[in-house]
């Protein structure tokens, strides 16, 4: 009898424990929860973390993340307003703010990802479709992203989420356009290199020709000075000699003739044919008259 009582009490305790466990649940700091009764949401979503109570067995709890969630849809090829194609990779950060609406519209995060990804792509296309590449690559990029964010925000409120941020992660040119860009970059660099080399040549030529000119001028100036000096010398000489020789022109002629004869005829290979009539031979044939008379 007492064994039966103990058994009943034991069974009761076990059932009680199971009931307690199935009626208590915790919601952590990172979570929010929705209580479902036979698949239907009951009451307001639980957004306070801690220990909570529900009806056992007939109610189940659906947990949703309360944190900022990430979505990184695959890159999309977008044609810009200036017809340039661009691979745009956008990413979204969002929060589930209304789990009830979230449950009613998409239920699970993976389904939301599909829907939200489409919205993001559509918003990116429509926004960038009216922008040029130079706009995307400018400080207007931020306002373009704000525009995309606005569009995505409006579209996604029906899912019970709040878009924290939508940003363009990458905006790259497709491969074929990249090649064209590389080609252009190469041409630009070649142009630059050619210019640098030509500048080098120009500067070198400038330095060399300036140096040549300076050297020539230096020599010419020296030449001029030299001629002036020589002229001065010649002038002085002329003046000095003229002063001396003009004392007696006749004597100068005689004096100069004598030294000129010596200089001009004094060499050994001169042959002189003389007649005894010259003054030099005045006494060669005849004695002076005084001696003759003796």
């Amino acid at each position: 009898m007492s064994k039966l009582i103990v058994g009943l009490i034991g069974a009761f305790v076990i059932v009680l424990t199971i009931l307690a466990f199935s009626s208590l649940y915790t919601v952590s700091e990172t979570q929010q929860a929705l209580v479902l009764q036979f698949g239907e949401p009951i009451g307001t979503p639980i957004q306070e973390p801690g220990l909570h109570v529900k009806s056992p067995l007939i109610q189940e709890v659906r947990y949703y993340d309360r944190r900022v969630l990430d979505l990184d849809p695959p890159a999309e090829r977008v044609i810009l307003a200036d017809q340039k194609p661009l691979w745009v990779d956008a990413f979204v950060r969002y929060k589930i703010i209304d789990p009830l609406r979230f449950f009613q519209t998409v239920q699970t995060e993976s389904r939301l990802r599909d829907r939200l990804g489409q919205i993001v792509n559509a918003s990116v296309r429509s926004t960038l479709g009216s922008a040029t590449l130079s706009t995307v690559l400018s400080n207007e990029r931020a306002s373009l992203m704000a525009e995309i964010r606005g569009l995505v925000s409006v579209e996604s409120t029906r899912f019970g989420i709040a878009v924290v941020d939508v940003r363009i992660r990458r905006a790259d040119l497709p491969e074929e356009t990249s090649q064209a860009v590389y080609q252009r970059m190469r041409s630009e660099r070649n142009r630059e290199a050619a210019e640098f080399r030509a500048q080098g040549f120009e500067r070198a030529q400038r330095v060399i020709s300036t140096a040549d000119r300076e050297a020539t001028v230096l020599r010419a100036e020296a030449e001029r000075e030299a001629q002036i000096l020589r002229g001065e010398g010649d002038g002085q000489k002329t003046k000095i000699l003229a002063e001396a020789y003009s004392k007696d022109e006749e004597f100068f002629r005689f004096y100069k003739s004598m030294s000129a004869y010596t200089e001009a005829l004094g060499s050994k290979n001169t042959t002189m044919v003389l007649t005894p009539d010259s003054d030099f031979f005045k006494y060669f044939n005849t004695l002076p008259s005084s001696a003759e008379g003796d």
Binding site: V68, V164, Y182, M185, A193, A226, L229, G266, T275
Partner: protein, 378 residues
């Protein structure tokens, strides 16, 4: 079990663990247990069997369970204590030291490090990190991350790293899913936004510092918008280069710059060579001329004074001097020269006998040109 749903991040330890971050078991645990048992024995003396033993075991287990609620917070950590998944002391964190929270399965203690610097590599992957994780043995390029458009629609290859740490443990743990991935995409977005606004040339050279700063500021703003509780300590450009496809052209520009400098230096060398030489030559010319001038003047002065000296004496005895000078000159002249004296014969008549200039002829034969003596007669 509902308990297993708690806490997405950081698995809770078993009953004997003390949560992630793992503070060691308090050292006096055994003592506490033993003292407790002693006290129990004192309260319940005597050798009562099964019932009392069971009670002792239950009490011991309860004490052990309570003791497992101790957790230690290291100096670089912040402690976050949760009760049924709720951060009870929000936003207070516990500081370094030993703390107690309800043990599992009621409570949980998380101790994220707030000093550890985490690093994210963008545009490259280090393979085989060196000691301290700073120096990578080699790196793998990740072109889809590193190639980006610059403001002047060129493409640039940028590898950079982002260092971050936890600023607010609560936000970091509970407000953002996969914080590291978020930092990475946000950093890529920020870098591309910054690079998209400057031209390639400054990006490659002088604007690097600016790019780092702007990216860091922008990235921090983004993460603050997400309330991620993350602080960006540094954005560091590792390698900024033109894309591989055009790097040779860029290198050629550098070579062209070198060529330019080289040509200029060579020209300078040429100038430095010829200008002093020309100066030297110029000085030589002037000096030569100067020497000539002095020489000529001095010679003239010499000639002049010689003449004047002779003249002074000539004035005293004109005829004699003339005669003497004439004769002296002639004798000196005729002494060394070959000479032939021919009588003029009848006065005024041309000498009928032609002179055969034999010595001249000999010389002329030598020279191969005959000469007649006619020219020598007078």
């Amino acid at each position: 079990m509902p308990w297993s749903n708690q806490g997405g991040s950081g698995g809770s330890g078993g009953p004997w663990g003390s949560g992630p971050g793992g503070g060691p078991t308090p050292p006096n645990l055994d003592d506490v247990l033993r003292q407790g048992q002693d006290r129990l024995r004192a309260i319940l003396p005597g050798g009562l069997g099964g019932g009392r033993g069971l009670t002792l075991i239950l009490i011991g287990v309860a004490i052990l369970w309570a003791a497992s609620g101790f957790y230690r917070v290291q100096p670089d950590e912040q402690g976050v204590a949760l009760v049924f998944g709720e951060w009870t002391s929000d936003p207070e964190t516990t500081g370094p030291g030993l703390h107690w929270n309800y043990p599992w399965p009621v409570g949980e203690a998380l101790t994220p490090s707030v000093e550890t610097i985490n690093s994210i590599e963008i545009g490259y992957n280090s393979i085989g990190k060196g000691r301290g994780g700073r120096t990578a043995a080699r790196t793998n390029d990740v072109p889809e991350e590193s190639l980006m458009l610059t403001g002047d629609q060129n493409i640039i290859d940028i590898d950079f790293s982002v260092q971050w740490k936890v600023r607010n443990a609560g936000l970091f743990l509970f407000n953002i899913r996969d914080p590291a991935a978020t930092v990475k995409v946000a950093a890529e977005s920020a870098m591309r936004e910054v690079i998209g606004q400057i031209d390639i040339q400054p990006a490659l050279t002088e604007a690097r510092e600016q790019v780092q700063q702007d990216t860091q500021v922008l990235l921090q703003q983004m993460l603050d918008t997400y309330e991620a509780g993350i602080e960006i300590t540094q954005v560091q450009l590792q390698d900024v280069q033109p894309p591989k496809a055009v790097i040779d052209a860029f290198d050629d520009v550098q070579r062209a710059l070198q060529d330019r400098d080289r040509l200029q230096l060579e020209a300078d060398a040429y100038r430095n060579d010829i200008i002093p030489r020309a100066r030297g030559e110029a000085v030589q010319l002037v000096q030569n001329a100067s020497a000539y001038r002095e020489k000529v003047i001095n010679e003239a002065q010499g000639d002049s004074s010689r003449f004047l000296s002779v003249y002074r004496e000539y004035v005293v005895a004109k005829t004699v001097t003339i005669q003497r000078m004439y004769l002296e000159t002639m004798s000196a002249l005729l002494k060394d020269t070959e000479k032939m004296v021919i009588d003029s014969g009848a006065e005024g008549q041309l000498n009928p006998i032609p002179y055969l200039a034999l010595p001249e002829l000999n010389k002329a034969i030598d020279r191969g040109a005959a000469k007649t003596g006619r020219e020598a007669t007078q």
